[in-house]
């Protein structure tokens, strides 16, 4: 079916396009304008509206055992329709597609529990999804590194784990920290050493970074640094950038590392320092993990950090799982607008968004639901587009908190092309998705159309039209029909000899073969759902 969107402002920075024009698509793919004698089967007049490619969220906790444990831990959130910290799977798809997002990456799945994550993703309608495979705390990897195994062996292991778990990339979460926590270590920095293994977090990160590059995986190693949330942790983030910034690396939810120790309460925003470091290291990309105010639940495979955060739980309960590899922790939390610390966190995130002036390297996240549910995205986008709106919000938070941040002095407002880069073109490039994030011929027809108005947040909350693979999914902010998307993964090559070694180790340590945790699409009833993203040769 040939479809034409006509008259809208097409903002497609990947193809240097920003202005009134048409977008044509057929059979799920964007095409060049056809010959004049071809008439569209369907035409939509979107004059006055903004036409963007479908949004891509690179870091949002939407599936897996930790997310599901959060659901089971917090049944009280079900009775509040506005509490969207851990929606059921069907709701996740609906809420994302209404905002014009069409691809979402769940960034923290240990290989042992990848089957459940993929089952959950298959239950999320509308959007395409992917997982990042979490490595860095498994005893097998730590044994390899302790034994001085070659870079090739580490890459073979990472490749095997990616293929078995059907991951799109590799994530390392406080590498070594979870293993150290099992040895009763309560703080773990970049150069602290995992007991019994003698390995620093720095060494584990570096090994995994090189493995990802050797495998040709498009998405660079995705790092959750040490010392998340700790006052003064900007030093950790700066040291991590120094340690890894000569090669491609992605630092997740940077806001949670943007803290100094200045000010009346020994807690301040160090975002300007961090922004300068990111700007100076061209191989570094970051997402923000913006804090927004309200009830949420923190869900993290940084089990050590979550254990230490238990005292701040609201409501007062939490789950800590000393799992295989990273495990995880679930700690509900309420960010309060009137709280000094929460206001500094909110400001630090916005500072990072606004001070890092390269939208190709800064990504739009709240680390859902850790900084805020993804349903706050419309409000956050509005804050980036309008300094007047920011000024209004600044007037509602503790004035003292604004003395330890530069936010009130920042005048920058994001432009539409910058929004399109940050939420579309750049994520597609970062993840290696050549057919997403743009509206050029050959692109997947994932398209979002917004109607600008005085209420910027309302515009983003309910797109007027959203197409997924060329099919109309949303009209006037409401789903039209329930569609199901794909799951994206990479299939890097590796030496299959690692299978025998891994299985021998698993038999000895866990009494089972390594392959029992593998995701088998046919058994999931999802054989046609998986799509392979090519690795670099």
């Amino acid at each position: 079916m040939l479809t034409r969107l006509t008259g809208g402002r097409v903002v497609d920075p990947a193809n240097d396009r920003d202005g009134p024009g048409d977008v044509w698509f057929e059979d799920g793919v964007v095409i060049a304008p056809p010959q004049p004698d071809r008439q569209p089967d369907v035409a939509y007049d979107v004059t006055g509206a903004i036409v963007l490619a479908g949004g891509i969220d690179i870091h949002s906790h939407i599936a897996g055992t930790n997310v599901n444990t959060a659901r089971l831990l917090l049944p009280e959130l079900r009775s509040d329709p506005d509490a969207t910290a851990v929606p059921a799977s069907a709701e996740i798809g609906r809420l994302y597609i209404q905002m014009g997002f069409t691809t979402v990456v769940e960034p923290a799945i240990s290989p042992h529990v990848a089957v459940q994550a993929h089952l959950e993703l298959a239950s999320i309608p509308f959007i395409d999804t992917a997982i990042l495979t979490v490595l860095g705390n498994e005893d097998y990897l730590l044994e390899l590194l302790r034994g001085g195994e070659s870079k090739t062996a580490i890459a073979d292991y990472a490749g095997r784990m990616l293929v078995g778990s059907h991951g799109l990339g590799v994530k390392a979460i406080n590498p070594g920290g979870a293993a150290a926590f099992k040895e009763n270590v309560r703080t773990f920095g970049l150069d602290d050493v995992v007991p019994r293994y003698g390995l620093s977090s720095r060494a584990i990160m570096r090994a995994l970074q090189q493995a990802v590059i050797a495998l040709g995986v498009p998405h660079p190693l995705h790092i959750h640094c040490n010392n998340l949330g700790v006052p003064g942790n900007v030093e950790t983030a700066l040291a991590t950038i120094d340690a890894l910034g000569d090669l491609p690396v992605h630092l997740a939810h940077l806001q949670f590392y943007g803290y100094g120790k200045d000010g009346p309460l020994g807690f301040s925003s160090a975002a300007p320092l961090l922004a300068e470091a990111v700007k100076a290291h061209r191989q570094v990309t970051v997402d923000i993990g913006q804090v927004m105010f309200g009830q949420t639940v923190t869900i993290s495979s940084d089990v050590l950090r979550q254990f230490n955060a238990r005292g701040q739980a609201h409501p007062r309960k939490s789950v800590i799982m000393d799992g295989d590899g990273n495990g995880g922790g679930i700690v509900p939390y309420r960010y309060r607008r009137t709280n000094f610390f929460n206001a500094v966190q909110w400001a630090a995130g916005l500072e990072l968004f606004l001070l890092i002036d390269d939208p190709w390297r800064v990504f739009f996240t709240t680390d859902h639901p850790n900084g805020a549910p993804f349903t706050t995205y419309p409000d956050l986008l509005a804050l980036l587009l309008s300094r007047d709106l920011r000024a209004q919000w600044i007037g509602t938070v503790p004035a003292e908190a604004m003395t330890v941040t530069t936010l009130p002095s920042i005048a920058r407002e994001y432009s539409w092309p910058e929004i399109a880069i940050m939420t579309r073109a750049a994520p597609a490039q970062l993840l290696g998705l050549a057919d997403r994030g743009h509206l050029g011929p050959g692109a997947r027809a994932d398209i979002a159309v917004y109607r600008p108005g005085a209420d910027l947040a309302a515009m983003f909350r309910h797109a007027v039209l959203v197409f997924k693979d060329g099919r109309l999914a949303v009209r006037d902010g409401a789903p039209v029909e329930t569609l199901f998307g794909r799951t994206l993964s990479v299939r890097p090559g590796f030496d299959a000899a690692i299978d025998a070694r891994l299985s021998g180790w698993h038999e000895r340590v866990f009494g089972t073969s390594a392959g029992v945790f593998d995701v088998v699409p046919e058994v999931l009833g999802a054989a046609g759902r998986f799509e392979t993203v090519p690795c670099r040769q």
Binding site: N68, K182, M321, D322, V523
Partner: protein, 327 residues
């Protein structure tokens, strides 16, 4: 789950009582837990708490390799204490566990756990002198652990005992590392609870009568609903083993069951199904692995090996012909 949603029905599980005893504690107070694999790999001290563990997890000793050193750190010694009431299976003692017998009655366990927790916390206690010394030794052992694990089964422990164990784990974590290992009830109960979690936000005992999922452990107890006459139709699914429905009242029943299932009153419809992971491929919660896993089969499929999912899908397909229920 989808079928129940369409017809406004209720989902329950035959092991929901035990599963909810654990989950209720978790969602009221939280907990620190681990997996069987981690217990096997690194636990240097294990407390097997309460009766019924052998019945709930017959392969506990083998799968945790309790008679050997932690598998990932073989240089570390492993010590196992069995906290029990009544007679102990000889095999446990033979395998090298210390046995601490509280008494003859399960009701004696709860106060003993209170004493143990107080001893670990260094609080003054008064207790039966004969019991106090072994409990003191047990407390000392737990406190000396590097990575300790407490194993229990909610099929055999009451809610307060489980809460006491989780509190004990919290206290121990102030100085060392400890985690709980609640043994998952049978019949893939935790797998069902997980699916309930992502489809509705709730674990077992979910009702769909109001066009949205609701969760109520008492209201949606299937046996109660049927015995009280609230429910007028049951779909009984028992694929893992031939299990008889727990209710007493005769109710029109559609049964999807393993061969050999016996009923108090014969079902109106009985459809034989295969065993998940044995007769047909499946995804089930494997407690020993601590995860949902894919289980493939290589045998030829026969009509008797059809999966519950396939049958329910076909029933759902036929429901298109059913007129909508009156409001």
């Amino acid at each position: 789950m989808e079928l129940a949603r369409r017809v406004g029905g209720v989902i329950d599980h035959m092991h929901a009582d035990a599963a909810l005893r654990d989950l209720d504690l978790m969602r009221r107070a939280g907990w620190v837990v681990t997996t069987p694999a981690q217990a096997r790999a690194r636990a240097d001290v294990l407390l097997l708490a309460g009766p019924g563990l052998d019945a709930a997890w017959p392969r506990l000793w083998d799968e945790l390799q309790l008679d050997r050193a932690p598998s990932v750190f073989p240089e570390t010694a492993r010590r196992v204490v069995r906290l029990c009431v009544g007679r102990v299976a000889a095999s446990s003692a033979d395998a090298g566990a210390s046995v601490l017998t509280i008494g003859e009655d399960a009701a004696e366990l709860q106060p003993a756990l209170g004493v143990l927790r107080a001893l670990v916390a260094g609080r003054p206690v008064r207790s039966d002198a004969a019991l106090l010394q072994p409990l003191r030794e047990c407390a000392s052992l737990l406190s000396s652990a590097r990575f300790g694990v407490i194993v229990w089964s909610a099929e055999w422990l009451d809610a307060l005992s489980i809460e006491m164990l989780c509190g004990l784990i919290d206290d121990l974590n102030a100085k060392t590392r400890f985690a709980g290992l609640p043994v998952a009830p049978g019949g893939n109960a935790m797998g069902v609870a997980q699916v309930g979690g992502w489809m509705t936000g709730f674990p077992l005992r979910i009702g769909f009568a109001r066009n949205r999922p609701e969760h109520d452990p008492w209201r949606f107890d299937a046996a109660r609903m049927i015995d009280s006459g609230e429910a007028d139709l049951a779909v009984w699914i028992s694929a893992f083993a031939p299990q008889t429905p727990p209710w007493r009242r005769a109710v029109p029943t559609v049964a999807l069951v393993a061969s050999g299932t016996k009923f108090r009153s014969p079902p109106e419809v009985e459809i034989g199904v295969g065993r998940p992971g044995v007769d047909h491929a499946s995804v089930t919660f494997d407690f020993a692995l601590g995860a949902l896993v894919c289980k493939q089969v290589t045998t030829e499929q026969s009509p008797a090996s059809r999966s519950v999912a396939e049958i329910l899908h076909r029933i759902g397909g036929a429901l298109h012909d059913v007129p909508p229920r009156p409001c």
